[in-house]
């Protein structure tokens, strides 16, 4: 066991060290065309991105994993501080991943690389915790492939 303080049960925390600059990782997180290349469901794809990157601006992505119908992830940016920090709400439509949650992403620079610290709060259901844990692990692997390309 690690000595890290126990996170509340409704919080998910993931970290990834990526061999790319903070600017590049932040851009991948906020440029609509780059976002849909990694923020995808396992075994599926994302499309029709909309990003209004400012505090109070909305974002939206449609996802699909055939043969299932499409569903939608959307939310509002609460903090936009490039390339260090991003806070936004996450709402699912037509998908059973639980009620709205809050995502905070910190991009720390370490020796020219980026430590991504992702915290998702208000995961009130076991279903939400399960699907998001699985989804983020998949997405962050894809993000690595995207940003570590030379």
């Amino acid at each position: 066991m690690t000595a890290a303080p126990a996170a509340p049960r409704t919080t998910l925390r993931l970290e990834r060290r990526l061999a790319a600059s903070r600017e590049r990782v932040f851009e991948a997180w906020t440029d609509p065309e780059l976002l849909v290349r990694w923020f995808t469901p396992p075994g599926g794809s994302s499309y029709d991105p909309e990003v209004d990157l400012r505090t109070g601006g909305d974002w939206r992505v449609t996802m699909r994993r055939r043969p299932w119908p499409s569903y939608e992830a959307s939310g509002t940016y609460l903090e936009v501080d490039p390339p260090a920090r991003l806070v936004y709400t996450l709402t699912w439509k037509r998908a059973p991943f639980g009620p709205d949650s809050l995502v905070t992403v910190e991009f720390h620079e370490i020796d020219g690389e980026t430590q991504v610290v992702l915290t998702q709060e208000r995961l009130e259901t076991a279903r939400g915790r399960f699907f998001h844990g699985r989804g983020w692990r998949h997405s962050l692997d894809r993000l690595r492939e995207l940003v570590e390309l030379a």
Partner: protein, 114 residues
């Protein structure tokens, strides 16, 4: 001849699987109308509108009453209610499966914390 539920659902969903027919239903949901009034709304030939109306009538979604030379059309509830019942059944089915999934995952979390 009495159609069985499965056949009626086939007819209803097939009738609904067309944007013009859904738009005709939308129009009739606002109130009954003559065939001419319905046809005037769409950039489609009169024979095409007639074909669409036959499909809707065959599915029991639309009923036609002749008042002299004017044919009045109105929406019928029963077929739509059957289709909605079928969809609601699956809605409840998935809800119950998701509830079961929630219970299973919550139990697994409790075990992992022990």
């Amino acid at each position: 001849m009495v159609k069985h539920l499965e056949d009626r659902l086939d007819d209803t969903f097939a009738a609904l699987a067309d944007p013009t027919r859904r738009a005709i239903l939308q129009r009739l949901a606002e109130g009954e109308a003559s065939v001419g009034e319905v046809a005037a709304r769409f950039q489609v030939s009169a024979p095409a509108i007639s074909r669409h109306l036959r499909v809707l009538e065959n599915a029991g979604l639309v009923k036609r009453e002749k008042q002299g030379r004017v044919h009045r059309l109105h929406m019928e509830r029963e077929s739509m209610d059957e289709a909605l019942g079928w969809i609601a059944h699956w809605g409840r089915f998935w809800e119950s499966r998701l509830d079961a999934l929630e219970d299973l995952l919550a139990e697994r979390e409790r075990e992992e914390r022990r």
